[in-house]
Amino acid sequence: MRPARQPAGRFRFFPFRLRGGLGPVIGLVFVVLLFAVLGPAPFSSLYNAKTIVTQTVIVGIGALGMTFVIVSGGIDLSVGSLVALSTVVTAVALNALTGSGGAAGPAAPLLAALAGIAVCAACGFLSGLITARLRVVSFIVTLGMMQIARGLAKWLGREQTVMTPVNWLQKAMLVDPEPGWLLLAPGVWLMLGLLALVAVVLKYTVFGRHVFAIGSNAQTARLCGVNVPGRRIAVFALGGAFAGMAGVMQYANLTVGDPTAAAGMELDVIAAVVIGGGSLSGGEGSAAGSIVGALIMAVLRNGCNMLGAPNYVQEILIGAIIVCAVLIDRLRNPRTV
């Protein structure tokens, strides 16, 4: 009956949990190597690497927000619509700010982006409120929000794309950024910054711990005095805000507000989280995993394009990867059903 022996002074990089952290990285290395061997020369160029990373930004930022939602045991189907809503709100706000005041200051695009993010956060808050307080499953609530947000975007944009004057936001997604010393597009830096933020929040804050506890076993969380409904609402509001930021990047990419943008993107975002080790039954997932999941899908799309493979091959491959990622996870921990 000796007490538990602890390895003294052993440095643990992930004090919380290492399990399942490496799988998605191995997957990413595998697909990169595969295309480097199979593919044409341009795949392996630095420029292409930067392109892939830039193409990851929108899904990646959405996936970071979705990581909170999925770890807490919920799901958010409204992300694609929120991205579109955010592009439209940003564009409309930008036009309003520049139109009334005449010359646009450098602050106008920032305010417009914040407006887009705030509207999406509000939508997420509403989804969370209904999910947590009225106890409707998040699948249904966000399915409704998906339609509502899409409708709002079309209404605000009068069912067409919203043109905007030239502004610095539109440069946020350039593969070769201006100024050149940035090396990567501002959107990529934003994604990396958010990645660090979400990773720290999930692992090292009380909020993050509570999100894991709710996803792992909401009844235990309640027993331990966690404010389960409050945390759930915060999680959905955060997910909405991240979708809003992804939408601002989408706006930067398109340079217009487009109410029909990002149709079906929620499925890419969910797939990224799941490939990255997130469990739809909650309690599992990580920020880095979700970004790696988004990268895997971007690499596949890019590599297939370079090979000249038709679109359907990409779709079949991505579908297979999603199922395999979850299957491998199940084989590793058979306890979860």
């Binding site: 009956m1 000796r2 007490p3 538990a4 602890q6 390895p7 643990r12 004090p15 919380f16 949990r17 399990r19 692992k203 090292y204 804050t205 009380v206 909020f207 711990r209 894991f212 506890a213 792992s216 076993n217 009844q219 235990t220 969380a221 309640r222 027993l223 331990c224 005095g225 966690v226 404010n227 309690g283 599992e284 306890r335 979860t336």
Partner: protein, 501 residues
Amino acid sequence: MRGVRKAFGAVRALAGVDLAVCAGEVHGLIGENGAGKSTLMKVLSGAHRPDAGEIALGGRPYAPAGPAAARAAGVAMIYQELALAPHLSVEENIFLGRERSRFGFRRRRRDAVRGVLASLGHSELDPDAPVSSLGIGLRQVVEIARALTARPSVVIMDEPTSSLSAEDAEALFAVVRRLRERDLAVIYISHFLEEVTRICDVYTVLRDGRAVASGRVAETDTAALAEKMVGRTLDEMYPRTPHTPGAPALTVRALRGARLPAGVGFSVRRGEILGIAGLVGAGRSETVRAVFGLERAAGGELEGPGGRSVPAAAQTPRRALAMRLDLLSENRKTEGLAGGLSISANVTLSALRRHTRAGFIRPGRERRAAQRQCRALGIRCRDVSDPAVSLSGGNQQKVALARLLHHGADVLLLDEPTRGIDVGSKAEIYRLIRQLAAGGKAIVVVSSYLPELLGICDTLAVMHRGRMSAVRPVAAWSEQRVMLFAASGRDAADTRIRTGG
């Protein structure tokens, strides 16, 4: 049945049971929780295979390969949890899995349904009504009707009244009598003695996996049956640590729940271990869960260690924790532990703020606190960052207890603290509970295992159908007296089962 044995691992659930049931009689099977009643019936209904012994049915050897084979042989089981599909109609439920079809279209058998319902005295039931529209009592009738359409010779009912109101139970007794009139053999499992004496003809008492007594119900009475259900020697598992009760730490007044409890009051002092005994379904768990705010109370008042009274209806787990109460859940898997999370996350979850600065967890501090608790409780684990599910049942329970200790509440509500753990871990948990009381904590223990309560508690109360007996020192109770109140609601303070102590 003759010499039926069944063991699960090292646990001997049945140690050679003999049982004879005749057609046209209702055979009551009684015993404490864990005496082996349910296991015996699972053997009969084909869900378990016996390790030894033989069973004969209608003169022929009977060894069902599974529940379907048992049904085909004429043994119908009616489980205590109803197994109906609520969205389907009465008729669809009755013939579920045995539908007859013509050219692939389902054939209606309304007449057969009406016939069987009428034979149970419920001809008013509409075969097309969805089961979800029926009350729980009528659902049970549907369940019995389903069993009868397979033309069984033996019907087994496992605690059929445990979730019924008195009125529904009365209707069920009428159904049971009709089954007897149809010359069926009915095995009626219950731990409510007054039911057994009312509707059974013959009884068998199970204890520790053996049939210890049987006879005609008419020749015995409730008190005698209660005596036969216990009658066990006290194990030497309960070390006495001297402790003296101090000031009241928790007082509960007139606590009522949605259904259970029905007006319960008690008080527990610092340094006191109060046991709550009773049978499954008496409302013991509901009582402590309502005190902790896990189930909404309909009325009543709680007074915590601070001396402040709060209405029980406004209690939530967060408020309870702030009142310095803490609860160990009886259900480790679904509520007590977040199995996927690490041991340390589980230990610190209810008092995580102690290891944070500005909302950020300090991992080193948290880890050391978890390691301290693991050492104090002798939790054997490789590392506190391992997931809690990687531990054995006993160690998982100690992790759940470690969370209570880490939180450091003054009043600990322990619901079935030793359920599903091995004997060694049990003894450690008893020792721990006593040490905690000696350290000045007020402890409430709910348990279905009476010797354990008599062994570790200072005071004891017994519950029966939502009501609680008086709280008395443990020496004023005997097993027989507890069992009598638990099974009949009668307090034998002045009758012949008085203990001299």
